[in-house]
Subunit: 247 residues, 2 copies
């Protein structure tokens, strides 16, 4: 499985993904699920992916190789789409193209799910930062002020903490801490989500080169956060009032 | 959907269930999912149920009416089984009996899931308290010291907090608080789980009459707990260290 979170906050964008993939419990591997496409100063586009790894890798490979239109006429690609809406549409179309190629009459009865989900966010100069969830069917929804975040993959374990903390006006710093705690909770409860975590913070209108961080199992900050959070929970617990009928 | 939790701690047993049922989002109703069977001083058996409401209600009705063997020879029932293991086996057999009766060739193609899951726990004099998870297939597993709790239904949202707090030697009081917070988190993140919550605490070897508590939306303690927990989380957050690259 997979766990990915993306947020569109007033302060900017946040992307985070785990890196465990599995086909059954005896076929586990590590793959980066975050892909960044950027033209410094002009646009930054980040894709997080969940679902069938063959599908999601193909979508990313097709998007990437179409940026370099060697010897072929230039088609639509991530760097010539005018808006993030058009980028999301292009990703959705590439998902449909890949699934249409790979899934056919022979595979229908084999119980393989060829679907892949993407979180597509970024900023193109002239627009605000935007964030989309592209479904396995290729259609998509956009995050707004009321719901500033999307999750894909094993989303349930880590949802309550985000629901409690994150609003559109949450700072990137707070959102990053909350996201890491959401990952910590998910990793503790579900074997199919695992470290390292890739995280990218993007400040609105900065158009700075993307500097994703990779958080490994021995990352001292993540360990400190995980321990601090656990201790804080226990402290909070100890302070909560008891009820008369708790005998 | 549904959310139920049961724990087998050194101090005793804990049972909690929500009471929302739904068939689609436009058919929502309130049903008690906790059923207690007791012979004060001799045995206490509690069933929590999730899954197809017709199946789970039928199982409980059959178990209940077989206690009163009016005019028919006494068969196996909840009050004459010698151990909690035998009780779990009887519940599993009744699940299979109900599904075999209701699911047939005609219903096969209709996409109806007739399955029902039960958490079955209690104490029979001469035994320690025991807790079982009876699957929709009628087979079952027992909780132990390493994994002292089971969940059924919408279990993922509320699992991390239990994983962090509950061990076999956790007190009933702490476990009850943790369980209510687990429900609060689940209810905030998933519409298909709703108040009121039914909760029953049973102290090992007490064989006292069961006194389940119903926690409604305006329960002052639950509101206090929910608010206190939210505030505690935010306080814990504020204290957690920042990382250099959170810019």
């Amino acid at each position: 499985m997979t766990y990915c979170v993306a947020m569109r906050l007033d302060a900017g964008l946040l992307f985070a993904s785990d890196s465990r993939t599995n086909a059954g419990v005896d076929h586990i591997a590590t793959f980066r699920k975050m892909n960044v496409f950027e033209v410094p100063g002009e646009r930054l586009i980040t894709l997080l992916s969940a679902g069938n790894l063959a599908t999601t890798q193909s979508v990313v490979s097709l998007l990437r190789q179409r940026l370099a239109h060697k010897g072929v006429p230039e088609g639509e690609h991530l760097f010539n789409r005018a808006s993030m809406y058009d980028v999301a549409e292009l990703v959705g179309r590439t998902v449909k193209e890949t699934v249409a190629r790979d899934a056919n009459a022979q595979t229908l009865g084999q119980g393989v799910d060829f679907g892949g989900n993407f979180l597509v966010g970024g900023q193109i100069r002239g627009e605000e930062p935007r964030l989309f969830h592209v479904y396995a069917q290729g259609n998509f929804i956009e995050a707004g002020q009321d719901t500033p975040y999307f999750q894909i993959g094993e989303s349930k374990y880590g949802k309550p903490i985000i629901d409690r903390v994150v609003r559109h006006d949450t700072s990137l710093k707070e959102a990053a801490k909350c996201t890491l705690i959401s990952f910590d909770s998910t990793i503790r409860s579900n074997l199919s989500v695992g470290l390292p975590i890739d995280m990218l913070l993007y400040r609105t209108d900065s158009f700075a080169p993307a500097a994703p961080h990779r958080i490994t199992a021995d990352d001292p900050y993540f360990l400190k956060l995980s321990r601090g959070w656990g201790e804080g929970l226990r402290r909070t617990f100890a302070r909560l009032p008891d009820e008369d009928w708790f005998r």
